[in-house]
Subunit: 352 residues, 2 copies
């Protein structure tokens, strides 16, 4: 087996780079992890519902990390009208992200019903913008909907959207279940699916005792992880990397008791950006899919998003001469983030 | 509705009171929570596999909290022979607890195969000792066994033991699934089931983001919680309180990074002892089962275990005149434990 791998311009089609001091810390990590093109999520506070706000955010990211191609998104919301879509498209905004209300970080402005957005989706279809779906329905005790089956219940919405908008490119983000993989594979070429690094490794057994493994959607059963790994191994171009790398201050990952004695939950998200491509290479090798690395991190997503790799942006990976451990924490700008796989060894590194 | 409830000598048929300084802190909480009889788990370090060790532990508990009737158990282990069973029975030990290997706190000495213990179970049957089962099989990626279905997979072992030992009293501890409730209800009168307070309230949605809600077995779907609540509401005497109250130092409930940069998991367990009966009353009232409180916390378990309530041990609950919140933490003897429901209001209190 070769000791180096050359990849044409790896891309991460789902990344959170936050705001303020946290943005200053984490934005440079995207390039450090081997990423040349990053598709940026709009769930800021307040959410990015206006083209101007998206462009201002893009300027900020370009200031902090000018070497990365930042692809931008709007947050699906009543303020996002068909007119706003046309304006955003002209301004180079790539897509629109939909969050069901309340299911993850900063999603309290999320949608409850897709019907009202059909004119928006029509405009997106005409403009060639991509619809990115956080594929979970809200939990509902009466209907036995929980974080375990929230994604399965969402698939009927995906099927309906795919049928109603056959020319709208739709991405089911961060799939976590065998059913989601099967559903996406069965749908037309307008539907694709991002897969995170952490969901290729976690199951519910390693999530339950470890807040640093808690993310939405939750990692599920071994059979689900196997389905994600098999999707990567298949080489099916519908499946590509979207890391959902989502930094939280380490304090937000420990249980907290307020002065009033209230117990607060831990924040959802795994942080993989700083060493993303070495991690993905290590994981793919672990389940015999290293030969699919280029398709998964470069070709498939770029082809779906119509963002070809540029020349001179190749990334070279090599096997480390000495063991490289993921650091216990990343610090700076007054923040501290514990990365996913802290303390574990990576099988690949980026050649300097 | 009445503002007071008189209960004949509440009993907790599954409690962890630990060792050393933690034991000094938590043992008095059992009586404070309204419990007159407590069935004590043997998963100490080292596990209690000898009658002498069990008796020494009982002496310790009686020294710390003489007002409680402590019912003692052995830890199922190769050292527990039929001879040891007869010795333990003579010494007043009530039962034997079985932990599948590696599934919960201090279970690394747990069993892997019940077949080798059939002579032990035979002796227990003859002596009238109770077999207490932690009803989970170990996780196995290849077989798609995870913390989500580990209990369901255990039920075949329960069915086989119940059939092979029709006169051995067997308790499936801390049931968490609809399937477990159904299985126990379908088996003969020699099989019963303990239910914790926390599993009557938690589901996976409130466990995943909160280490203080992480316990084994994991709380599962809303349908499972409903099945547990319905088992209580049914008044079926096979179902009774076993709190599995399991204190951990609060530091063990936060993610930790060692000096080597390794990420450590949070400990499994919810701590309910200090206000157990008020909590159970509050929960049962919330799902319309307050009329089943006496059966659940006193009659059913005592009848199965043949430990009648003593006169003069009644517990009187009343509605608090002013709101009573579960404290944010319980401190003492160098330990600090965050209790279950910290910061939430209880609907009942123990009348002084």
């Amino acid at each position: 087996m070769s000791d180096t791998i050359t990849l044409p311009a790896p891309a991460d089609f789902h990344v959170h780079v936050r705001q303020g001091a946290m943005c200053e810390l984490v934005t440079p990590h995207v390039a450090a992890g081997g990423i040349r093109t990053a598709y940026v999520m709009p769930n800021l506070v307040p959410p990015l519902t206006k083209t101007e706000a998206v462009l201002a955010y893009k300027n900020e990211l370009e200031r902090i990390a000018p070497g990365v191609e930042w692809l931008m998104t709007l947050y699906l919301h009543p303020e996002v009208t068909p007119e706003e879509i046309r304006k955003a498209s002209k301004a180079g905004v790539s897509g629109v992200k939909s969050y069901p209300r309340g299911v993850t970080t900063n999603s309290s402005s999320g949608i409850e019903d897709y019907g009202v957005y059909y004119p928006v989706f029509k405009a997106m279809e005409e403009e060639g913008m991509v619809l990115n779906l956080h594929g979970e329905v809200p939990s509902d005790d009466e209907k036995n909907i929980s974080v375990l089956n929230a994604e399965k219940h969402f698939l009927e919405h995906l099927r309906k959207l795919a049928a109603d908008f056959p020319n709208l490119r739709i991405v089911l983000e961060h799939a976590t279940t065998a059913e989601a993989v099967e559903c996406v594979a069965s749908l037309g070429p307008n539907v694709a699916c991002s897969i995170t690094a952490h969901h290729l490794w976690l199951t519910i057994d390693t999530v339950a005792p470890q807040p640093h493994h808690f993310c939405k959607p939750l990692a599920k059963e071994p059979r689900d992880r196997r389905a994600l790994q098999d999707a990567v191994k298949s080489g099916n171009p519908k499946f590509f990397l979207g890391s959902d790398s989502a930094p939280h201050p380490s304090a937000a990952k420990a249980p907290k008791i307020s002065e009033e004695g209230e117990l607060h939950s831990c924040a959802a998200g795994c942080y993989t950006s700083p060493y993303l491509i070495p991690l993905v290479a290590t994981l793919l090798e672990s389940f015999g899919a290293l030969d699919k690395l280029q398709g998964f991190v470069s070709d498939h997503g770029r082809s779906f998003y119509k963002v070809p790799a540029k020349k001179g942006q190749e990334l070279i990976l090599r096997r480390p001469a000495t063991a490289i451990k993921v650091p216990a924490k990343l610090e700076g700008h007054g923040n501290e983030v514990v990365p996913f796989w802290a303390g574990r060894e990576l099988g690949w590194e980026i050649a300097q």
